[in-house]
Structure formats: C-alpha cells, structure tokens
C-alpha cells in the first residue's frame, strides 16, 4: 500500500511559475489520496488562470495507458509551461519519461505502508520515501535510479554513462543531468545541499496507519 500526501501549496506554486496541465491519478485501490485538498488546490489554480487543462484518470504508471489517456489533451499540454502530476512517484516518472522536453512536477510526496502494492512492473521505481526529490531532478528519481541513492549529483564512478555497479545500468545522475539540460533547468543543481530525513516515514506512518484487523 502507499499513501500520497500533497506538497505544501507554497512549494507547488513556487515550482510552477507559469501555466500547467494537471494530471490526477486515482489508479490504485490500495492508494490513499488527499482528494479534497487536491480539488481545492486545483480549483484555486484554475481561478487564477494557471491551468490549461485537467485530466483525472487511473494507472498512469502504465506507459501505454498513459499515452492513450493523454491523446485528447495534447493541445492543452503543449500550451502549458509544465505538467503538474498528482500521483505516486512512479506516475510522475512515467509522465516525465513520456514528455522528455517538458517540465514535469510532482505535487505529492509518496509514503510507504506495509502490504501488497504495485500493479505495473516497470523500470522506474518509487522508494516511497516521503521526501519526493523529483522536482529537483527533472522527474528522474535519484533515490531509486542511482545505486548509491545520491542526492547531490553524480559520483565519480560512471563510465560511458553507465553505473560502476552494473555496466548495463545507466548512471541515474547522468540521466538527471542530461534531462535538466534538455529542459533548461541546470540551475536546479545549485540548490542547497540535500540530506535525507530517514525519520519521516515513521512519523507519517503512525498518523496514517490503518486500524489493524483483529
């Protein structure tokens, strides 16, 4: 199971800067999503004229399904400066992979809950760490795409763009760098030093844990 939690409104607004196309995913039945807060945020953004279109759908983690669902929204997406995705980290990364030259932002942090999860086997992965970095890394997760889960850039171990651990695996930070270059956001590499807070998910888990079944 997983939980998504809306990022702070200020964080989302500071990311957007311009107009956006909003993509809501309601895919997994085991997912808990802050529906009311998301609706309020989207209504407000729309009233400010910042929204070119909204699509609420399911299973955007499936690339084929995602393409199909977005077919009728291409103009709205082209008009927007960015795509704001309200989903788990896998959904955001799938959208980011599909729109290589578009800014894709995550409006949520994804948190872990014990139990069965995941319906679509994919290369992209979400560690459900509760501190989504996708907005700093061009929609490619440094926690799961880098074998050392580095947050502050490429280590010296990549050769020909491949990871030191596995010559078949692309260096996650090489991908992040090239992607930020493509969307003109290399400035994101100058953010303050990032340090993971491993205590986060415990606290949230306690707040959100479902009642244990007898």
């Amino acid at each position: 199971m997983l939980i998504t939690r809306l990022k702070e409104k200020e964080t989302i607004e500071s990311l957007l800067g311009g107009t956006c196309f909003i993509l809501n995913c309601r895919g997994c039945s085991e997912m808990s999503f802050p529906q009311d807060e998301a609706d309020a945020l989207e209504a407000q953004l729309a009233s400010e004229g910042k929204v070119t279109g909204i699509l609420t759908t399911d299973y955007i983690c499936s690339p084929e399904n995602l393409k199909l669902r977005l077919e009728r929204h291409q103009t709205e997406i082209e008009e927007a400066d960015a795509i704001l995705v309200l989903s788990c980290g896998v959904g955001v990364q799938t959208v980011s992979e599909l729109y290589e030259n578009k800014k894709v932002f995550s409006g949520c942090d994804t948190l872990r809950l014990p139990g069965f999860q995941g319906v679509t086997p994919l290369d992209v992965d979400c560690g459900q760490c509760g501190e989504c970095y996708l907005n700093l890394t061009g929609g490619i997760c440094p926690v799961t795409a880098c074998s050392k889960s580095l947050l502050n850039g490429q280590c010296g171990g990549a050769k020909n763009g491949k990871c030191e651990v596995d010559p078949e695996m692309d260096c996650g930070w090489e991908r992040i760098y090239r992607r930020l270059e493509a969307i003109g956001r290399l400035d994101l590499l100058k953010v303050p030093t990032q340090i993971r807070n491993y205590s986060t998910d415990d606290a949230v888990y306690k707040q959100n844990a479902p009642e244990k079944q007898g």
Binding site: L151, N152, G156, K159, W173, E174, T193
Partner: protein
C-alpha cells in the same frame, strides 16, 4: 598542518597516498612513508579503498602523524552513517589531524565484501557540509559541541577527464558551495582535457592538485581504459609502454610519462597528488624528473 596554508603561501603542493594493509601491523606503511614521502606536503590515507576491508584510515593517520608526517584523512560515506562520520571527525580532531578529504566512496559491490550493506547516508557534498557544521560548533542535528570547535582543511575530488565533464563541474560547484577548500583529481593522462577542464574550474577559485597514477604496464593501461571511470590512457602512451618491456617493468617508462604530464599541466594547477599504488619508492625520481 593544514595543507590549505601551503596553497595560500603559493606553494606547489605535492601529496601522495598510502593504503593501509589488510592486517593490524603498520610498520611497513610507516617505514615506506618515512623513506619516500617525508619530503611531501602531506600524505593521503585511503579509507578501505575500492571497498576492500583494511585497517582504518583514522588509525593510520594518527600513526603517520606520530611518525612526523602530515596526514590527510580520507573519509568515504560507504560504511558509516552520519553519527559515525561525525564521531570519527571529532576523533580525528582530538588526534590533531586537520586535513580531511571527503568522498562518496565506491559501492560495496565492487569490493571484497559484495554482500555488505552500502550505507551512503551522506554523500561527498553533504559530508563537506557536515564538516563545516562541526566547525561552526554544532553537529548535523544542530546540537552544540562542547569546547572549542574543530577545524579542518576540507578537500574533495573531481574527475577532469570524465566523459561527463560538465556533470562533474556541476558537482564540483556543489562541493565548493558545501565548503570544499581544495581538490585532488582522478588520474590524468590526457593533458589537453585537463587543461581545458582547468579553464572552467578556475572560476571556482579553489586550488586543484593534478592526479597522477604511475603506469606499471600496457596491461594496466588497457584495463583502466576498460574498467576505471574517468580514466583514459591514450594509445600513444600504451605503445610507449609496450616498446621496451624491461624499461616499463623497471618503472622507468611510467615515471617518464608521469613527469611529462606534470610538466605540461603544472602551469595550470596548484599541485600534484600521486597515487603510486605500491610504487612509492619511485616518487622521489618522478619529482626530480618533473622538476619539482
């Protein structure tokens, strides 16, 4: 002694590295360092290099310091979380060790304990920021330290001949922002690449030591080209190593190549860092040939 003082005085800073043994006796390392490295500005001590379990860097630094050498404590983030790293930094300061080189570290899978848990709680950048926090008198969680705060010369590494040199420069900039005061580079063989890297790196205003790995054979060169990140030995050097096998075996070819690289790059950098990997005895000859 902080090696940043030497850079400030305009000295061309020469350092070399030693690797602690897989065992608990340090006589060999100390004797070798005393014999061949005592004239250098400082000696780096590697931290379970290549993820191979060995005697610790901190203990070796302390023993070298007691023997009259100036150690640089290499710290990787592979094996310790932020509590252990900070604790070891305080231990280093208590021993009077005041040079620290902050590295992310190779992955555990590359070493002799591939089943070990890779920690990477921090990385090279956040480790630099951690050292700076301790220097400001508090730990990473903001708790105050008792007594005078420690103070280190904070070093970092960069890979100038990497095939992603722009990503490396971006990382270098982050290291500078996090507090890096000097840099040592991965081994350089392509002097043109190094010089063009330095053209861009000089804007960060931090001294850079050219990295040198002595070439022991043509086989070593081709192996590094295939397997070691950020290293490329040009074909003409491999031909040179093959030309006279006896001369290469005696270390003369490797020393000649390294001396040439140092001479070509010297006007563009502030020092040299030699990784002799067992050939420490050849360092005095190399420095003489390089005109240092």
């Amino acid at each position: 002694m902080k090696i940043t003082e030497l850079f400030r005085q305009g000295e061309f800073v020469v350092t070399a590295e030693v690797g602690p043994p897989k065992g608990c006796h340090l006589d060999g390392v100390v004797n070798e360092a005393k014999e061949y490295l005592s004239g250098l500005s400082a000696v780096n001590v590697t931290d379970c290099q290549s993820s191979v379990m060995r005697l610790g860097s901190l203990a070796t630094c302390k023993v070298l310091k007691d023997a009259g050498l100036n150690p640089i404590y290499q710290m990787t983030c592979r094996d310790r979380n932020r509590i252990a790293l900070q604790s070891d930094l305080l231990s280093a300061a208590a021993f009077g060790i005041d040079n620290v080189l902050c590295l992310t570290g190779d992955h555990t899978k590359l070493g002799d304990h591939p089943g070990a848990k890779p920690v990477f709680d921090l990385d090279s950048v956040s480790l630099l920021a951690t050292v700076r926090a301790l220097e400001e008198g508090h730990d990473l969680a903001g708790n105050e330290l008792i007594g005078e705060a420690p103070s280190f010369a904070k070093g970092a590494v960069v890979s100038p001949c990497s095939d992603s040199v722009d990503a490396q420069l971006a990382k270098m900039e982050r290291k500078v922002a996090a507090g890096a005061e000097f840099f040592q580079t991965q081994a350089v063989y392509d002097t043109e690449k190094f010089i063009s890297f330095m053209e861009k790196a000089k804007e960060f205003g931090r001294p850079v030591q050219l990295g040198i790995v002595l070439l022991k054979s043509a086989g070593m060169a081709t192996f590094m080209n295939k397997a070691v990140a950020g290293i490329h030995v040009p074909d003409d050097m491999i031909t040179e190593l093959k030309a006279d096998k006896e001369k290469t075996k005696a270390g003369i070819t490797g020393v000649e190549i390294a001396a040439r690289i140092i001479r070509e790059c010297k006007p563009y950098c502030q020092g040299v860092h030699i990784m002799a990997m067992g050939w420490e005895s050849k360092i005095p000859a190399l420095l003489e040939l390089a005109g240092i």
